[in-house]
Subunit: 290 residues, 2 copies
């Protein structure tokens, strides 16, 4: 993979609106593995240096989404102990990337399994946006009389993708505008969302609108869980930047003097979150054992 | 106006998504005045009976919007003292309707004037949906460095109509999805919304999404005012029905087993409202002098 192609793959990750944070991280690991296989280097030390740079670049493209950064960091650390022979080193680096992707997939599944056990039979779940882990929760509960309330999640309405899956699984679903979340929170037994990043203070970064759902759930005493793999825990103290996407995604008129804002994420504070549900437990005690 | 035409005018009021509660009430009074002029009756007692029925029908078409009901009630009461001569009675009934419409317009303007004085210079106002009274607040403040944050207000995006007006008045405006309200509340100095109905317990019915804005404003300690004429105060104990409109307005796919909900209004509880601003005062002490 030459520099031009790598740059293009980075652009694809930046522009990707369909994949969640976990899928993007796994896509990043795939790209990393391809870099390991195709690197034009002759020595392991060169390979390590080259791949560390690639990992840094990959880890930085989606600042609001921690798993990409975290998994790239882990992969970069694993490069410290590569075999001396360069082609063996390529194989090890590739295998390490694939192994991390598998770990992430497994962790997401286990988080979903623990969450579905926590929810139990015959419940109405309200969510926001599209999370592959929350989708798995619905999948695990589909023969257990689960029902769904799904906000559209403007601007690109990922809620519609979720509704389509739930329809295929015959899960009774109510689809609403984001503005109706205040009306519908009281009709749910539990609120469950995915996450792009879990922060050290127990707060959570997820698609814009999650904060409003958490407020509405809190007002109605509906438990609010964040369900995801622990690779989403952000180790740094300061919260990462909240990515802003193209205003054109709103599909609105351009009025002079009116700036259209499209911040993709918001931060839900810990006091509105009943618990994180990760592969380590539901609820997960978190970094500081909250 | 024959029965068929009257039925059609009622349908137009039911289908009207552009006019706010106050404008709809004034449209109702116009229709009432036309009924008074064209009624095929020979005696004042017949006219009174006929118009009372028309007023009942007009007052019932938009249950979430109190001014229509309230102004029709007031008009119906005014019919008790009509002149004996039937054509004089027509004139009086017509004049009464026009007078009530003027009172309503004046009250809305005075509510806006008191609110703009309360807000003062150089402030950022966040609102929700489109209210002609809130529009008047912006109009009164346009040379006083006011700025606006305007959520789109799905499904029909009345926020866009507001943004267009603000653009014409050169008021710096940020236009956002409803899902970003949690992010943007903290950037406002004050939240101001209109209302469809003010309830006896101090709570307020307005376009769906208002409740979420109130929660977000409350969390950020941003004062939240409801600005409207006092004809919007609902006298009955029980809150009126929250109207539901066609799911087709969301413009979404029809997935089997997925019901699309389009409830147009929500109720913001009194504890999230800093005050009502009506023509009687800003804040208005309300029914019970809260």
């Amino acid at each position: 993979m030459d520099d031009e192609e790598f740059k293009q793959r980075l652009e694809e990750l930046i522009e990707d609106r369909h994949s969640g944070a976990s899928e993007l991280a796994r896509l990043g690991l795939e790209i990393a593995a391809q870099c390991a296989q195709s690197a034009e280097v002759k020595k392991t030390i060169e390979l390590r240096h080259y791949l560390a740079e690639r990992a840094e670049a990959l880890g930085a493209v989606r600042p609001s989404m921690s798993p990409l950064k975290n998994l790239m960091e882990e992969w970069k650390e694993s490069l410290e102990v590569l075999p001396d022979e360069v082609n063996e080193a390529r194989v090890t680096a590739t295998e390490n990337a694939m192994h991390l992707a598998e770990q992430s997939t497994k962790a997401s599944f286990e988080a979903a399994a623990l969450t579905s056990a926590l929810v139990g039979d015959n419940k109405t779940i309200i969510t926001h946006s599209f999370s592959s882990t929350v989708l798995e929760v619905f999948h695990l509960l589909k023969s257990r009389s689960v029902r769904a309330i799904v906000p559209e999640s403007r601007p690109l309405c990922e809620g519609g993708d979720l509704a389509e899956h739930l329809s295929q699984w015959d899960i009774p679903t109510t689809y609403i505008t984001d503005a109706q979340v205040g009306l519908f929170a009281a009709r749910a037994d539990v609120a469950i969302v995915g996450a792009d990043t879990l922060l050290a203070d127990g707060s959570t970064i997820n698609k814009a609108g999650t904060l409003l759902l958490a407020m509405a759930a809190h007002a109605e005493k509906v438990p609010f869980y964040v369900c995801c793999e622990s690779f989403k825990i952000c180790q740094q103290e300061e919260p990462p930047a909240l990515e802003e996407m193209s205003p054109a995604e709103l599909g609105t008129t351009q009025w002079p003097g009116v700036s259209v804002s499209n911040i993709y994420f918001d931060i839900t504070p810990a006091h509105l979150i009943t618990g994180w549900c990760t592969e380590r437990g539901a609820p997960d005690p978190g970094i500081g054992g909250k």
